[in-house]
């Protein structure tokens, strides 16, 4: 289960390093940015299962136009939701993301600089269980649900020096496919289950982050 996540994260790291290399060659102003925050689903039914999630993003922001006020940030990250089923089993919902964020240094008040931003990400969504019995190493189940999709995000970032706080709203509707064995078991039990279903994963999110020039 974790191998695909690591593989996807690895590719994002390569992209970021490539972006930094590009910066070195062309001498574009570039900032290494990272943020960590919480997300909360807008849909009440999904939120009842996963009340809050943790999000991590990393990216390299290129200051491009208008005296470097327009910033383009290739980015990657993960969002993780956990729901403890019992002492041994925790259901997990994992979003692995890769995409782009555009922000603009709109105005400042005192030491605070305000960056409205727009983001678009491609998402890999996985829903599975993590099981750990008697302190043994955790094991991961096959995905119950999985899928992909493109999400958009709009928000505002307030930056002081190298630190910033960011709040946004993400729009994401993903068509998740259910595991084949679940379909078969349902059928045997007398239920018809569609092979895929659209989940609304809209979120509000708040993050803290850093933006530094390497």
């Amino acid at each position: 289960m974790m191998a695909p996540v690591l593989r996807k994260s690895g590719w994002m790291g390569v992209l970021l390093l490539a972006a930094l290399e590009l910066h070195a060659q062309r001498s574009l102003p570039v900032y290494l940015e990272g943020e960590f925050g919480i997300e909360r689903f807008g849909d009440a039914s999904v939120r009842s299962v996963f009340p809050t999630g943790a999000a991590l993003r990393l990216g390299a922001a290129f200051a491009l136009a208008d005296q470097g006020r327009l910033r383009l940030r290739p980015q990657g990250g993960v969002t993780f939701y956990g729901n403890k089923i019992n002492e041994e089993v925790t259901e997990q919902l994992l979003f692995v993301k890769g995409g782009m964020q555009v922000s603009y240094d709109a105005f400042f008040l005192g030491r605070m600089t305000f960056f409205p931003y727009l983001g678009i990400d491609y998402n890999w969504v996985s829903n599975f269980d993590m099981e750990s019995y008697d302190g043994e190493e955790a094991t991961y189940s096959e995905n119950y649900l999985h899928g992909t999709g493109i999400s958009q995000e709009i928000g505002l970032r307030v930056q002081i020096s190298e630190w910033y706080v960011k709040a946004g709203y993400g729009l994401f509707r993903s068509q998740l496919r259910v595991r084949r064995s679940i379909l078969d078991n349902d059928l045997t039990s007398g239920y018809v289950t569609p092979p895929s279903h659209s989940f609304q994963f809209d979120t509000i999110n708040i993050s803290v982050g850093f933006s530094i020039r390497p």
């Binding site: 960590f36 925050g37 919480i38 039914s45 999904v46 939120r47 009842s48 299962v49 996963f50 009340p51 809050t52 999630g53 943790a54 993780f80 939701y81 956990g82 729901n83 403890k84 089923i85 259901e91 919902l93 829903n127 119950y144 649900l145 630190w163 998740l176 259910v178 679940i182 078969d184 349902d186 059928l187 045997t188 039990s189 007398g190 239920y191 018809v192 289950t193 569609p194 279903h197 989940f199 803290v208």
Partner: protein, 362 residues
């Protein structure tokens, strides 16, 4: 600690604790699903059992259970159930809008019939067996065949051994008349079948000579005259199926099957590959369905010469049953006391209408 790092640590701890909040249920529980059968069908199979079902319209199925009758216009998405106590006694056959029972009555037989799907019953008012016939011993019904226009054949057995006698009656419920079509001494009645008002067949055994051989009698003039047909060897308690006025099928309990293309004068062996057959229905002269004793469905598209066993699945459920009703060569139901399946394409694809899934009983 630097204040900025201290604040960052507090924020991270807060985020971590919020992300660990536990929810209720699982995401999979939000995934949609739908029961395959209407759970309300528990009325038909819980402490109850399906006795008979048939099409009475394109999607309209009506039938009888031990506790009452039912009708559905939409394949059990909705249905009406009218409770009444089903009578178990006697020999039973279902015709169009007619159910008839042949019930032993002292030494004779009474015919009772229902024209309202078993709700109310009437008794055929005339004694079928005359007093002279009764003097030869008790008469038992063997086979009841309900045909069109409320015309029926009743095959009976009187006595045993050397004194045994086969009797065949024709009863016209509409006209309130009956007549004896056939009397044969030293004969054990096995079964009978009729194609129309004129053509009919009787299978019988000689109780004194060959207990494993079955002989055939045939009439083409409504029972006025009878002619001897073929003798089938080594076949016991056969199932007799009339395809049309000349083609017949006979299935033995041991799995042997025979086809006649000349109205029963001669038979040739055919192989169904299904073992003993308990039901046979000719949807057309070419398309014939059979149900094996173990519930499998077979189909012939060449009038019964060759057979295919249909590996019928409805979802993950094996289609099986002890009875069937095909409205035409494409549309039919296979059912048992607690299940019912429907096909609309001649048995290629099936859907479950009634099945004892766990949720039905919850």
């Amino acid at each position: 600690m630097n204040p900025i790092y201290k604040k960052t640590t507090i924020v991270l701890l807060l985020i971590g604790s919020l992300a660990g909040c536990d929810g209720e249920g699982t995401l999979l529980e939000l995934y949609p699903w739908q029961p395959i059968v209407n759970p309300e069908i528990r009325t038909l199979i819980q402490d109850n059992r399906i006795i008979h079902a048939q099409f009475v319209g394109r999607n309209h199925i009506s039938g009888i259970t031990a506790n009452g009758n039912f009708e559905t216009p939409d394949q059990f998405k909705s249905f009406d159930f009218e409770p009444f106590a089903w009578q178990e006694e006697g020999l039973l056959d279902f015709g169009a809008d007619l159910i008839v029972r042949a019930v032993p009555d002292k030494s004779s037989i009474s015919l009772i019939y229902s024209r309202d799907n078993g709700r109310t019953w009437n008794r055929y008012g005339h004694p079928i067996v005359d007093e002279g016939g009764l003097a030869l011993g008790k008469i038992s019904p063997v086979k009841l065949v309900v045909g069109a226009e409320r015309l029926m054949w009743l095959l009976c057995q009187q006595g045993t051994g050397a004194e045994s006698r086969l009797l065949l009656y024709r009863v016209n419920l509409a006209g309130g008349t009956h007549e004896t079509l056939l009397r044969r001494r030293n004969a054990l009645a096995v079964t009978a079948a009729a194609f129309d008002g004129q053509r009919g067949w009787v299978l019988w055994k000689n109780p004194l000579i060959d207990s494993d051989s079955v002989h055939l009698l045939k009439t083409i003039d409504g029972g006025s005259t009878w002619s001897e047909g073929a003798t089938l060897e080594n076949i016991s308690d056969p199932l007799f199926c009339v395809i049309d006025d000349g083609d017949l099928l006979v299935f033995g309990q041991a799995g042997a099957a025979f086809h006649s293309a000349d109205g029963g004068a001669t038979f040739q062996s055919v192989v169904t590959g299904m073992g003993p057959i308990q039901r046979c229905q000719a949807a057309t002269a070419d398309v014939i369905y059979v149900l094996s004793v173990d519930g499998r469905l077979g189909k012939s598209v060449d009038g019964g010469f060759t057979w295919d066993v249909l590996g019928a699945q409805a979802g993950n459920t094996q289609v099986s049953g002890s009875k069937m009703y095909f409205q035409n060569e494409q549309r039919g139901i296979v059912y048992d006391i607690d299940r019912m399946f429907i096909t609309e394409d001649g048995g290629e694809h099936w859907e479950v209408l009634i099945y004892p899934y766990n949720y039905v009983f919850e």
